[in-house]
Symmetry: D2
Subunit: 405 residues, 4 copies
């Protein structure tokens, strides 16, 4: 298995990564550094510390960090500037969290002199790719350990056996197979696998945990106003909030109104289709609002160019290429467009829908003088004739060429 | 004004195009052929015939046609194969109707020996461009008359005066200014202008006519199944329907559930921003369903390529370039992808949302064998290591180059 | 090594693939079918037959085919319709040959009941990817054997030892290391490795074999005319030629004039940069000529759309995705544009350059009446004012918004 | 004609703009400010001053400026970072000069309190669009005068008559029609019209003025080395040069070797095709060199993204949208990629060709260790199997779906 001295493990404190922790110690005979991050998944972190200690990790090797503000400010918001949607629908909630976790693992490896990093993603999914591309991009010489691709604990029974053998505590509800697997952070919560595997079957209500169903949402709409500065949201209903606090509040508002559920069959980077069920209440509201403020403040040329590169940008993030030159180049393009994306959007939240019903901006490019049907000084309707004629010229020459050719 | 002998006018039977009809006779001293098409706007056509006769049009010069099936089959469905959205949100309901009207006008001009065509679009909007680009593309030598850009009837008062002077009947509710202007066909109904001009103000309920508000929609969801063949919908809940009948039924279902409303500030081709309010109940359901069946049946490479060219394709339609080589080239690309887009999608319609909750297909590319977490024969998890390592190679070399460079 | 019964080997008759042949028999204990294709590489095929027989291949298992016409007609010409260049410069001479060889291997496997295919490409290059992606795309259940990735004959010495041990004849000049490795077909000949590995060193003259150096080319230019029909060349100087005959003649003409040499550092799909030296005399002439005839016959919208998708199309071919839906979709787009690409191009060939100096076409869209500086009836210069004003409108509104905002 | 008080005219000192100068004074009764810029067109500027004075322009209204460094540094070099080619071939020599002239005109208008600007471009070409889009983008309220679209001096005879009537000196060779029209600056010289209007006829040698013909170029190649820093050339053969001095030297070297001639039929923005003959000796060398250094220093993802957006970027410049948000966004993307584009390229210049024959860089991403055929530690050939298998997975599932579907 090679000579690994110290490995930084992305550690959740759950059963799987606890098994990995123990397996790393055994299989590699190496020191393990655990890294547990609060990205808003909604779990206490201190139990992870106690569990790590219990599994023999030295206190100085236990890293527990609240990264919620970093996550939203440096990853979520830049991505939302692009109105990124993977395959037209998916808000990339899992994808966007991986680069931050990876970056911290690599930084901690440097700080602790570790020569390897490890993660708990399986060999069939996208997350292994996202983790590892980020690791390699940030430290080309790092050693990467992906236990799920290496070990033989490839069934629930073997995993439980290993845990019992090594005195790893097993929560009662973890003994059997979970009915589906979950990933959560401040942007979204996802569910996939097992009971969700038949794409013809509607997901049952118990799959959802961050939103009420539209049917259970209030019968009265909720109106909110979101304020933007240079493309990022900064306030809700006049109250300035930090990035993480703002997204938390949008999650609350969206979730209470049944907003942000998505049942999707998507194409994984590793080549297969999979079915995922996502809840992204705050993100769904934010996307609608951001498009709303851009409608008023973004020039057409800028807006259309953004729309054209967006699928590529989203694909890069989905595939794990956050730390690639091409993602950074597209980000430079996108950020360049957001300078004047300032103003306020009013939204109506109601039983599953987030609808923009108003927008205003000091940088508005909407000109009532130009758009009114009245005669006016700013726009000479006769200009349209020349505009159309020259736009049509090539088409006319083409038709003539084809007729006489 | 030049020597026009006969002009084919796109004639709705309403006040504005009746004034145009009379004005053409006067200003150009020419014979007028009226063309009135049923594209599903929901109005009787026979009154238009009577009105044209009353205004002195010879019976053989009155063309009244039901083009609903042509419209949906040859324009709407091809466009939906592309999942086309202009500026991320607009389903192009007005844009897609213009090419068909234009084509018939040019054909009727050929049949009747007319040397000109005329339309009732104003000099500030997109429709003049769409009509005229289509005219010129189909007949490069046609004479185009756009009365709104030529005459001096540029206020409501002057228009009414002209109508009265020429015994053009004026409906009572047309005397005053309309609170907004409307365009309708089987795909959508749009409203813009006047009371809608302030983008900060929420449109009032009376603006909408094709859908109930989400609040007024039933408290129980409606479930439907849509069947697709080679990318086009062919049946609802097992009942095969013609294209127009199918879209009509989707409008009914969507409208009854408050689906398809859009309040948008968009960028016109002529360079200004405008605010439009759209209702596209059936189209909104159809887009969701089409994406649903593509999720299951479209290869990733095909799907992503489609997504990347979509904004360009939508822009071409919005700008009026339906009859351009580049639109046709993109259509060839899109149609090539739809060969296996067959199957059934189940949707939940509820208070403004159309949600895909199931999809199945004989051509499904979703492989449960590949996606399951169990150990399996079809997918060797160790392949992922090589996949990741070679995808990472350039990033590692880059990082090294930058570190040592 | 698994249970392979019969394997179809892409067999050149050279030392490497002869060693592979023997190794397959030994390592897999399986029957070997050899497939040797004439793609215009300029070598006799009959020696390959004799060698295969000598190595124990049954006569009915020896496939030798002249595929030059298939190659040029079905692969080279379609690619040239796109003006494909990888990384701005490379005419994809090697890339485009692999899909045809792979297709025939899969077909022969079906005919002979073979359950596997094998190729002689190494584990670091693009060709392994191209071969295998094509194999899998055409037969998802085929077994693929890539000896260079499996065996331990990973040095010249071991390879020669194996050959000697198995009585494989070794040409004298194959004993030592070749100074560079070569791939050839009717489109190009490439050289890479060893003496070419330092990208700062100019390739020496002996590397080139299909063209004279520009310095040695004639001091007088050669003028030729190439005729096109629907985007493909069909005649040179008035003489109709089959696709392969035409490309052969262009190679002769281009090579004699020092045309088509390229010294390139390129990005491989497997993640590293490599240096290649290419000779593509006929292809270089053909690209210039095709662009020349498109200049006259292709509409601007079509031409620009083609240019925008070309890099993606070229990348797909380079990476081995010829048999992918997205390549086929792009091909449909490209082919749709070529309907009227008819006419004749005159070129000057001189000491390394192929220059278009004239083009004419019955489908020309070039209109002298429109382009002349004289006053004319077909173009009203005043139209330009409206055209410019409406194109400028959004930029003016933007500037105003930024100034007052 | 409206009330213009003061107009800034782009004044060359030639006959046409002298006539315009006089016509502006007459037709508009306004004060004229002349702006004459040295962009490297190769003409003395002082005669323009004297001529302006003679035509009654006040000394303080005569602006004569050497903008060569600004031109190359702020316009030419940024464009070359993109490897921009319009329609695959044209280096945009005229297009890139217009934004600088326009910007200075607008600045001078502000300084002098002028309310209008004027240019001498005709109503059929691209330059009117480029000038005016730039004017409007930089000052949305500026009044634009385009005499060629307004006056009736639309034949040579009328123009000469006007000149004689107003005592405008006429050079002998300007009395008759010029055999073609010319535009020149430090990047290129173009010729079009009259004797060049038949695209089947080869341009005669006298059309060219900045390069010898390849036939007349030296029989020995010239080797040069160009050094780059962050994407821009900074030295030739070890000698650091200012941007303008460097391009001047490249023009000398390229022109002496017959490099940079282009005979093109192109698509104008105003909708027609036209034929142009261009000489861009230094630019042609520079493009080859820049691609050469990028080959070594640019990551594949960055390089391919650049190639994909390039046609759009070139189109924007050709069409006159230099001062548009979308051009600036693309520039941000491109510039972001050039940080490590450092190093030296060696080129061979010979009878019309500029060929890269060597490149080296401290930031090279080319790794001999990775590319060598030998067994090595840095690259595990077995990784390729996984890489290929996962890239193939979707294609296999697709084929299976189609076979069993």
């Amino acid at each position: 298995m090679g000579d690994v001295k110290k490995v930084v493990l992305a550690y959740s404190g759950g059963l799987d990564t606890s098994v990995i922790l123990k397996w790393l110690q055994e299989a590699y005979g190496c020191e393990v550094v655990t890294f547990t991050a609060d990205l808003g998944q909604g779990e206490e972190l201190e139990p992870a510390r106690r569990k790590a200690e219990m599994l023999g990790i030295k206190p100085e090797n236990i890293y527990i960090e609240d990264l919620r503000e970093d996550f939203v400010r440096d990853y979520v918001f830049p991505m939302f500037r692009a109105n990124a949607l993977y395959e037209g629908l998916y808000l990339l909630g899992t994808s966007i969290a991986r680069p931050l976790i990876s970056r911290r693992q690599i930084e901690i490896a440097r700080e602790t002199g570790a020569d390897a990093v490890a993660h708990g993603a399986t060999g069939k999914g996208n997350d292994q790719v996202r983790f590892e591309l980020a690791y390699y991009a940030l430290n080309p010489d790092i050693r990467v350990i992906a236990p799920w691709r290496e070990w033989d604990l490839n069934s629930r029974t073997k995993l439980i056996d290993f845990a019992e053998k090594h005195q790893i505590p097993i929560a009662k509800d973890k003994r059997g197979e979970a009915p589906f697997s979950v990933d959560a952070n401040l942007l979204h919560i996802s569910a996939e696998g097992k009971v969700l595997e038949d794409p013809w079957e509607e997901p049952q209500e118990y799959v959802y945990s961050r939103s009420v169903s539209p049917e259970e949402a209030p019968d009265q709409p909720t109106y909110i106003e979101i304020e933007f500065e240079t493309g990022d949201p900064v306030a809700i209903d006049g109250q300035r909030l930090s990035p993480a606090a703002l997204l938390t509040e949008l999650n609350r508002l969206g979730g209470a109104n049944g907003i942000g559920r998505l049942d999707l069959v998507e194409n994984r980077f590793v080549g297969m289709k999979s079915r995922g069920v996502y809840e992204t209440p705050g993100g769904t509201v934010l996307l609608a609002a951001h498009r709303g403020i851009e409608q008023l403040t973004l020039d057409r040329g800028a807006a259309h160019l953004k729309d054209e590169v967006m699928p590529r940008y989203a694909e890069l993030i989905y595939n794990g290429f956050w730390y690639s030159p091409e993602r950074e180049m597209l980000q430079a393009l996108i950020d360049r467009s957001q300078e004047h994306v300032n103003g306020t959007v009013r939204l109506k939240l109601y039983k599953g829908s987030a609808t923009v019903v108003g927008r205003k901006s000091p940088d508005s490019l909407y000109s009532l003088a130009h758009v009114t049907f009245e005669e006016d000084a700013v726009y000479d309707q006769r200009d349209a004739e020349g505009f159309i004629k020259l736009n049509a010229l090539r088409l006319r020459l083409l038709k003539r060429g084809q007729e006489h050719g």
